[in-house]
């Protein structure tokens, strides 16, 4: 097992009475593209600033490449940040901006400019050396900010919501660029973002944060398919959550009842489940199928309902179905238009049957982790 290049142990940071970070433990490995996601105010930016040295934790330890970072100021840490606002120096050209970090650490001028030129080529900005920041577009500014940090060959690159200021199309392009850059340079990237799509599409591993704590750390696939708690399940992608109670455990599966029907539902179980306990049954919208009500006997995990509303999304639609057993419960079902079965009319007011496989559902604890 490789030694982690970043080790965070028990880091806590308070602002006034609020706990911005609470007992954070995290290990990040060399060469990873690591993402930290969470809603606004979850503490991800604070964590980033603690890593960079702009905030000092109230307690806990931070190691970068096995070196304790206590008392080491930001200008002596082996990592660099790409700021959300880019923070390019407005009075310097692109060339000088990128060269700044090298000049202040005493790299000889010739080597400075050589490295800058190489990096400009790498981020595809050759020829823009003499421009000033106010003459560049958003995407170009982004690349200059990247180049400025990368030219220093840091062990770790921190990115604070780097793509939030770009429009959707540019964002997608830049995501691919970031992954490409990371793979080719082999530097550990730590990306902080509130956009879970961004994290899912770029990272090797993701940490999901909420209220100052880390809720789960896993690969994108594991995070999506096997969220360990209610928050992660709902934050990454979306999920329908139905209260249920465990009746029986049979090997990997368990049988649960819901308050909605008399039927038993079959769910993929997990460790430490007790019979009689209340849990949440989670099913993602795209894992639910819609068929005619008359097919009701063909399936095991099923719920009847009436389509209350439809949200058109282009290549798919989200059907909001009111459950027959309890009108207050609305299940969201996502169906792509190419998958629609021909023998059912999906319009508002139509009675439908929702069904899914046992393996598609998740059993989650019914409390905030």
């Amino acid at each position: 097992m490789k030694n982690p290049i970043i080790k965070i142990e028990g880091v806590t940071k308070k602002f006034g009475i609020k706990n911005a970070l609470e007992e954070i433990d995290l290990s990040i490995y060399e060469g990873e593209f690591f993402a930290i996601v969470g809603p606004s105010g979850c503490g991800k930016t604070t964590l980033l600033r603690v890593l960079a040295g702009f905030e000092v934790p109230d307690s806990g330890l931070l190691f970068i490449d096995d070196e304790n970072m206590r008392n080491i100021p930001p200008n002596q840490r082996p990592l660099n940040i790409v700021f959300q606002s880019y923070a390019l120096f407005p009075h310097m050209t692109v060339l000088d901006n990128i060269a700044f970090g090298l000049k202040v650490t005493g790299v000889p001028i010739k080597e400075c400019y050589q490295r800058v030129k190489t990096l400009l080529k790498l981020v595809k900005l050759s020829g823009l050396d003499d421009r000033f920041p106010h003459q560049l577009s958003g995407g170009q500014l982004q690349r200059v900010a990247l180049a400025r940090a990368l030219v220093k060959r840091p062990k770790v690159l921190l990115l604070d919501e780097p793509l939030s200021a770009l429009d959707a199309k540019l964002r997608n392009e830049m995501r691919q660029e970031l992954v490409r850059l990371q793979k080719s340079m082999g530097i550990t990237f730590i990306l902080v973002t509130h956009d879970q799509q961004e994290a899912l599409s770029t990272a090797d591993r993701i940490a999901v944060m909420n209220n100052g704590g880390i809720k789960q750390v896993a690969s994108p696939t594991n995070l999506y398919e096997s969220p360990s708690n209610k928050f992660v399940a709902d934050f990454i992608g979306s999920i329908n959550l139905i209260k249920c109670e465990v009746r029986q455990i049979e090997g990997e599966l368990c049988a649960v009842t819901t308050g909605l029907t008399k039927d038993l539902f079959s769910i993929k179980g997990k460790n430490e489940i007790s019979v009689g306990q209340s849990y949440l049954m989670g099913v993602r919208p795209e894992k639910i199928q819609l068929t005619k009500l008359t097919d009701i006997d063909q399936y095991d995990n099923k719920l009847a309902g009436i389509i209350n509303n439809i949200t058109y999304l282009g290549r798919s639609s989200m059907y909001h179905v009111k459950v027959s057993g309890d009108e207050n419960v609305v299940i969201n079902v996502s169906m792509s238009h190419s998958d629609r079965s021909e023998n059912i009319d999906l319009c508002i007011g139509e009675s439908v049957l929702m069904h899914w496989t046992a393996g598609s559902a998740l059993l989650l604890e019914d409390h905030d982790p």
Binding site: P73, F83, S85, P90, H91, G101, A149
Partner: protein, 295 residues
């Protein structure tokens, strides 16, 4: 938000005419008159004839007047430098204060400025004259350490004038500098630190280049008034500490030589315009980009 004149003609003229008229009548025309006087000569006790001669200016170039002018420029220059040396760290410190302290400190710095110039200068006299409190304090201290004491003659010389000018003009340096620091994008400092800059490099490579327009503003707001100051040299200066404003005043009040006085005044006016024009030409591109400096 801005409109072309066409859409609201009436309102435009309503807002344009009164201030313009006022400036015209009470500033531009009077300045033109003394401008014309500067090219005139006295005929008799009261009459002045515009004869388009340069006598007044030639006389202004006499050593006695030229040296006063140069001395005034020197005094104003030193005042500006001292104000900058004190004002820069002061403004920097106040700008980095916690919000609660900022307003208190700013007001504390501005408040003395609201006190009448005359009163403040008079107060300085009371403190620094031979039998004033500064000397009393020194005397008390000298007695304490048993050193013979001669009261310092601090007043009625050039040093006193400079001191008085700094005393009066310091807020005019602090305020523009403070405004510059306040509007400064602090993330740039974090970025520079992150890239490895030391505190000193932060100051020289990042802060000062970006804050230059404010520095220029502060210097101009101190230099020009200091150059033309009248009361401070009059009250605090000795016979050799006359500045140009004192000379001008004498021409109008005592010597009654209005054409010559006008010429001297116009020299000051030309200097003022010159400095402003210089700033406009050299630093206008800095100002143009100012809106885009919010990167």
């Amino acid at each position: 938000m801005m409109k072309q004149v066409g859409s609201h003609r009436l309102i435009f003229w309503l807002t344009f005419i009164p201030p313009t008229l006022w400036l015209l009548i009470f500033l531009l025309i009077p300045l033109s008159i003394i401008g014309s006087f500067s090219f005139s000569e006295k005929r008799g006790l009261i009459d002045i004839e515009l004869s388009w001669i340069l006598n007044n200016y030639i006389r202004a170039a006499d050593l006695i007047y030229l040296s006063t002018l140069i001395k005034s420029i020197g005094v104003a220059g030193i005042t500006t430098v001292i104000c900058f040396l004190f004002g820069f760290p002061l403004a920097l410190g106040i700008a980095s204060a916690p919000p609660r302290w900022k307003s208190i400190l700013l007001i504390a710095v501005i408040l003395p400025f609201c006190v009448n110039l005359l009163i403040r200068t008079y107060a300085l006299i009371a403190v620094f004259r031979t039998r004033g409190f500064f000397n009393f304090g020194l005397e008390w201290f000298a007695d304490l350490i048993n050193v013979p004491f001669e009261p310092l003659s601090l007043l009625y010389n050039d040093t006193a004038v400079i001191l008085g000018l700094v005393y009066v003009h310091l807020p005019f340096m602090v305020l523009p500098l403070y405004a510059g620091f306040e509007g400064f994008n602090k993330t740039l400092l974090e970025a520079a630190l992150d890239l490895g800059a030391s505190k000193l490099e932060l100051l020289t490579s990042i802060i000062i280049p970006i804050i230059t327009p404010s520095i220029i503003s502060g210097c101009i707001l101190v230099f020009i008034p200091a150059l033309g100051s009248y009361l401070t040299p009059e009250l605090l200066g000795g016979p050799n500490s006359q500045m140009i404003a004192n000379v001008i005043e004498r021409q109008f009040m005592n010597a009654n030589d209005w054409p010559f006085g006008s010429a001297l005044s116009m020299v000051l006016v030309y200097l003022t315009f010159g400095i402003l024009a210089l700033r406009y030409l050299c630093f206008n591109n800095l100002y143009l980009d100012k809106n885009k400096r919010r990167l």
